[in-house]
Symmetry: C2
Subunit: 124 residues, 2 copies
């Protein structure tokens, strides 16, 4: 089975998704065009700085568009591009997988942790 992951390029793009906020913001923008302040509110826990930085990266990659209205106070709107929507669609199966297997994974972790603890104890 060749997954194409040996290819450096696929791994580079993982970074676009793998950071802390990108996918989250993409998901929020999938609901429609939103302003900076709204994203700030809805992306729980994000700092202003990381919101700016992450949006810049997404804009640079052609995943979101940034529209600035020269009014006072400023108004800036962000929206997903077609590329961005495609991306989200491609990641959806993974998101579904996560939700489906969360209990399984947590169980595996607990089982692993208790098992290794016992081994550590037996070592005494």
């Amino acid at each position: 089975m060749d997954t194409g992951l040996g290819d450096c390029r696929a791994r580079e793009n993982l970074d676009r998704i793998g950071d802390k906020w990108s996918l989250y913001l993409i998901a929020l923008l999938a609901e429609g065009t939103k302003r900076f302040s709204r994203l700030k509110r809805e992306a729980e826990g994000i700092s202003q700085r990381m919101l700016t930085v992450t949006l810049r990266g997404l804009e640079r990659d052609g995943i979101v568009t940034r529209t600035m209205y020269p009014v006072m106070p400023p108004r800036v709107e962000y929206a997903l591009t077609d590329l961005g929507r495609d991306l989200l669609a491609a990641v959806t199966p993974f998101i579904a997988w996560c939700e489906a297997h969360v209990p399984e994974i947590e169980a595996a972790r607990e089982e692993y942790d208790t098992r290794t603890e016992q081994e550590a104890a037996a070592f005494e």
Copy 2:
């Protein structure tokens, strides 16, 4: 569109994939059971430490199995679990997306960079 990403759990699992080596190793193991030294060879650029650390994490999450043969010299084999194979299948669309859109993304980056450079120059 609800992507389920607001859910903290989905974002936690992104970490399992989003790190530097996990998905790479999963892809390599999709080709079949492999020994530590072989993974070390095939995962180009990985350090011994990160190979160990990453495999431990995957084992803990129930994504790979670790089988140790008590011989001299040691022989340890890693293999994907069913859960791991499921995971890889779920991520495949994303990998395909990456390969399909690499040129598009690189073009967007260049366009963005030259555009912002011009704006910076115009600011002088």
